[in-house]
Structure formats: C-alpha cells, structure tokens
Point group: none
Chain length 219, copies 4
C-alpha cells in the first residue's frame, strides 16, 4: 500500500505520463509527424491504453496545448505579484516567458507550429490563454505609461517581438546555430557573447524600445 500508486514505470499517473510523452513527441514532430505508437512507447503503455485514457490523437494534442499555455500563465501571475514598478514588471514578463520556454522546451516549438498552421488544430482555450497573457502585458505597459517611463506602444507588437525572438532563439536548429557562431553573428563587431546572453539582450532591447525617450530617433 504505497502512498498513492507508484509502481508503474516512471513517476506520476498513467495519464500524466502519456501527456508528458505526447508533449515531447508533438514538439519534435508536429501534429502530423507525431506517431501515436511512439507516444505510447515513450509513456510506457500500449496504444490501446493510451486511447483508453485520452480518446484520440487530436484530443491528446489539445490536452498538451492546454498544459503548455496554462504553465506560462500561472507562472506569470506568480512572479508578477512580487513587483510593482512597471519597468520591473516588464522585465519580469520577458524573463518569465524566456524561462518558461527554457524549462518547457516543447512550448516554443508547439506555439510556432500552431501559428504557422493558422491555428487549425487549436482549441478555444489556447486562444483564451494567449489572450490572457496579453492582458497582463497590456496592463503593465499601461501602468508604465502612467508612471511616465513607457511611451504608448501596441502591446501585441511587443509581445510578438518577445515571443518571436525568445521562441526562435530558444529553438534554433543546431546546424544553424553553429554556422552563426562561426560567422560570429552572435556577438557584436568584436564581441564573443554566448548564446545564453541572448536572453539578456532581448530583455534589454525590449525595455529600450518601449521606454519613454526624450530623443526620438530617425525621420
């Protein structure tokens, strides 16, 4: 009589294991490329068991998506509650997204694919999730404007810059990465910055783009 169950392979309930396995597989191969068989194997169950628990491939995919967006929203709320200054909050916003992408490396991949497919597989809840995250960003930017530290910008554009850069940088094809390192596009003219610094750079640039500036650049 163990505490909860804990006897099958790996930890967590069967369903949890299936969803976890599916998240990886879907991230690697996309919805169409993913194989139910492979997910089952990764989860240590057989196909029939998988179907018993999740119904079908699409339903499984939706579960995965929900999990993934949910994680970001929750984490964001947790971290934001500790700060009050707008620029701090924006920094947090960027960091949390990057960090979430780091800890759930499947997330950016899945999100990018979904965007690319025009969201044909997307459950309504995913859209709500994204919209919720944007809400938080909008409030931060608004607060910043009232504090006088930000100027008026479109929240969506800021969000897309962060997500775009973060997602792509977190998930650059290995071969591309090595070519870039060779050509030293990762650093500035003479720099030697590491990939890890990309995160910081994104944060810095976003803050700067958004900040109220006395000197307007260009035409």
């Amino acid at each position: 009589m163990g505490s909860t169950r804990g006897k099958r392979r790996s930890s967590g309930g069967t369903l949890a294991r299936i969803v976890r396995a599916a998240t990886v597989e879907f991230a690697e191969k996309g919805f169409d490329g993913a194989r139910v068989e492979a997910i089952a194997k990764r989860a240590g169950v057989n196909k029939a068991a998988l179907y018993y628990h999740v119904g079908n491939k699409k339903a499984l995919y939706e579960r995965v998506i929900l999990n993934v967006v949910g994680a970001a929203a929750v984490r964001l709320d947790e971290k934001l509650s500790g700060t009050s200054r707008a620029d701090e909050m924006l920094r947090t916003y960027v960091r949390v997204l990057m960090q979430t992408f780091d800890e759930h490396p499947e997330m950016p991949r899945i999100i990018m694919r979904e965007m690319a497919s025009g969201g044909s597989h997307l459950p309504e809840a995913f859209l709500k999730g994204v919209s919720g995250i944007l809400d938080r960003l909008a409030k931060i930017l608004d607060a910043g404007r009232k504090e006088g530290v930000f100027e008026e910008v479109m929240p969506l554009v800021v969000h897309l810059m962060v997500v775009g850069a973060a997602a792509i940088s977190r998930h650059m094809p290995a071969r591309l990465k090595s070519m870039l390192r060779a050509a030293s596009h990762l650093g500035g003219t003479g720099g030697e910055r590491l990939m890890g610094e990309v995160a910081g750079e994104i944060e810095r640039l976003v803050i700067k783009a958004v900040s109220a500036s006395k000197a307007r650049p260009g035409g």
Copy 2:
C-alpha cells in the same frame, strides 16, 4: 508559337506549377501534413506526373524551401543598393522582410515550422540563405555604430525580433486576431489602430531599440 508550350492549365511550365502548388500546401500543412495527392490536384496534374517531374516528396520540399529563401535575399539586395545611411538601411531591412512575407505568405509559415522542427527537413542551402541575410543585417548595424546612430547589439537578436514579430503577426490565426481586436490589444490605451499598422510599429520599435540612446532606462 508560344514561348514554351502554353497549352496546359494555368501559366508556367508544369514543374513551375507543381512547385507553386507545393509551396502553398507545405505552408498550410507542413511537411508531414501535406499530401502529395493534394499538391498534384492543386497543380492540375496527377500524382504520377508529379513524381515524373520532381522525384519525390522530400525533393519537392527542398525545391520549395530554396525558392522561398532565395526570394528574400534577392529582394533585399535590390532594395539595399539604393540607400547608404544606416538607419535608412535598417528601415529597408525591416520593410523588405515584412513585404516579402506579405507577398509570399507561405514564407513565414514554412520558416517557423522549420525552426520548430529543428530543421530536420532543411537543406543546407536554406541555412546558407538565412546566414546570408544575417550578414547583411550585421553590416548595417556595424555601419550604424560607426555613424554613431546605433549602439552595439547582437544582430541575431534584432533579426529574430523582426522575423518573429513579422512572421507571427503576418500569420496570426484568424480567431486569435478577432479576439485581440475585441480586447483591443491591437491599440494602445484608448487607441484604435488597425492591424495594418503593426508593420510600422515593428519598424519603429526596432529602430528605437537599436539606436544610441543618451538616457538609459531602468535598473
């Protein structure tokens, strides 16, 4: 007599029609989701003819990718040749990317998917193409720093911000778009800016992020 043939449906040679059809299908569904049958139908030929012309699915995909990256690089070179001031060039850089994405809506989709999949389907030439585009950006930024209008930044990050925001915004799921409009995340506090302005906003923010600033914001 017509230039080449001019009897089959639509314009262009059979091969060209196949590649065009494939570009659309691959963009919509991704490599695994795309169906050879569907491509053939779109091109107005039958599967056997398609195989006669392109060999197999993967080879067709590579042709598509090459086409797509090629278009951006060529266009970039054309437009850049007309300007010399660094901030103008950066503006051009952003505009050309956005415009290319507009005119070849399949491009951002395909690129995002490739990034997501870790580039497993990618031909070497694609990487070279992207790297070439980055080269141009690096030179622009470098020039700007020498002119004193830009500060030192990582070219890759700038590129990712542009591509990320551009790609995603050009290709946002319709449903998401309408939710956002409802929640007015597209405009600022009281604004009512249209989707079309997103392009301008990206341009503006990127320039600002990169520009040499006297007043450093935040911490």
Copy 3:
C-alpha cells in the same frame, strides 16, 4: 430485506439486466455489430462485470437466443390449450406469433438475422425451438384437413409466410414505411387502411390460402 437484493439500478438481478440489454443490442446491431461495451452500459454495469456473469460474447448471445425462442413456444402452448376447432387454432397460431413479435420486437430481428447468416451462431436449442413450433402448426393443419376445412398444404410454407410477413411488417425500416404510406401501397385501390391492419390481413389471407376451396383459381 428485499427478495434477492434490490439495491442496483433497474429491476431484476444483474444477470437478467445484462441479458435484457443484450437482447436489445443484438437485435439492433446483429452479433457482429453489437458491442460488449454498449451492452454493459445499457445494463448499468461495466464490461468486467459482464464478463464475470456471462463468460463471453458468444455465450451471452446464446442465452439471448434461447430466451427469445422459449418465449414464443411457451406462449403458443398456453393460448392453444383453450381452443379445439382447427380454423380457430390456426387463427390463434397467427395471432400469437404476431403478438409475440409485438411484445418482443427483438425477436423477429434476431430470427431474420440468424436465418440470413445461415445460422452460424445458432445454438442447437434454437433449432429445436423452431422445430417445436412447427410441430404445433403441422398438427393444426392436419386436424383442419380431417375436419374438412383445410386442404393439404406444406406446414413449412405456411409458417414461413406468416413469420416472413409478420417479422418483416413488424420491423420495416421507418423510411420505407413512410414511402409506402405515401404511395398508398398499404391500402387497396381506394382504401386507407392503417399499418395496424396488416396483422388482420395476414391472418385473413393465410386462412384463405389454407382453406379447402370448391373453386380452384387460375390454370
């Protein structure tokens, strides 16, 4: 304390409920079309419980068949015991069959399917049951001939006419029924007879077909 248990859903023991549910499902879908899961659900138990009680699908089917044929034979004996004139008995025979089909609408369906399948699923007992019913009919016809009211006919043919017409008419696809009503094949030349009269018509025609006639029709 109830008679046997009296705590589960619906009336009757679990086994009885399962058999009843199975009867309906098998009638609607046939042996191959029926789903063990569906039967269990209808019975308000789960699959494992069903297996505990009945062994397997085929065994369950046999139970159902036996139940169904048994009901007709028993009822026939009850009703026949009250009459002695041959034509009365024949009428009773027809009525009992029709009535049984009415009250156990699964019966005709199951019987027809079994006939169609060549009786591959049939337990021996089913054949004995049918044979027993035919025995009774043969005796009635024989008695009628001795009374001089019937002429010599093949009992099987009479039985098949009754069962065929009764079974089919009791179980005509709804759509067919409505088409027929529209085309007024249900009534005579100008008639407007209702579906319910079909039973009476069968009875009438059978009696007439079997009766000793002075005037032979046709060539």
Copy 4:
C-alpha cells in the same frame, strides 16, 4: 491486343470483381461481420486497390445493395411484358422473385439483414427500388380486381408473404433444413415433397389467398 483488357485474374473489370466479391462476403457475414481484407482477397486485389475503386466499406455496401435490388426490378419488367392476364402476371411476379433469389442467393440474405437492422445502412435508392417493385405488384392486383379474379387485398401484405417465405426458404440454415426433413414438416401428412417444390407451393398459396372466392372461410 486483347479486346478490352482481360488479363487479370477472373473476368470483368476490377471494380466489377470487387463488387461481386463484396456481394458474397456481405451476404455471408453481414455488414459488420464482413472483412474488407477478405473481400479484397476474394477479388484478387489488395486492400489499397479496393479503396482506390470504391472509397470505403459503406460505399461498397451501397453499391452491392443497388446492384442487388436493380437486378430484381429489371428482371421483373422483362418477364412481365410478355403476359396480360392478371393471374398469370401474379404467378410471374412470384416466380421472378423466387428465381432471382435462386440465382442471386446473396439477395435474400442481404435483404433480411437490412430489414432486421431497421435499414440503418440502407441507401435511399434501395428503398426506391423496393417501392418500385411494390408498384408493379399493386398494378397487378388492381388489374386482377377489375378482371374479377382477385379480391381486394393489401399489396404490401402479399409482397411480404412472398418475400418472407421465399427469402427464408431459399436460405434456411442447413441444420434446420435437415431437422425439418427428419420431422417431415416439408411434406404434408404423408407427403414426401422436396424442397424444390416449396416454390410451387408458395405460388399456389399466394394465388389462392388473393383470388376472389365465393365461399368465405371462417368467422
């Protein structure tokens, strides 16, 4: 070169062979019991080819049904055109049905199963076909009444008696048949009639049931 094709196994085009094979399989096993694999094997093609030609199992089934009902209607019209007396036509009606069932032994089985299932698989065309056949019967009965040889009866009931008896007798389970022979239900009291005579008996009884009689039997 051969006249049309004639090189694959068996005669007729591939599609024809598939439909023929399907007719047999569906008759033997019913829709749910039939296996696509088995049909393909019987037809001498592989599953993929079968799907190429017919789309899916249900579509194949509908083709079969249509074929089967079509055959009866066509044959009926052919034979009826040669006669004019109502009683002759009715005899023809019965004979054609019986004969069609003999030559297409799958027909009665399929029809019975369809009736049993409540016509859930039935394409509209099947119902129209059956309705068309009934139309012809109705006209025959009507003509007979005008000639004074038939009395008013419900066409549907007559049809069901014929089809019921014919279908069932043509397709009685072998084991049942032998039990009946043993119990001599096939013959009258002392008779020794053969199975083959069942057809004649049906014909005779139907005519008698329908004929205008001077002496009404029973109460």
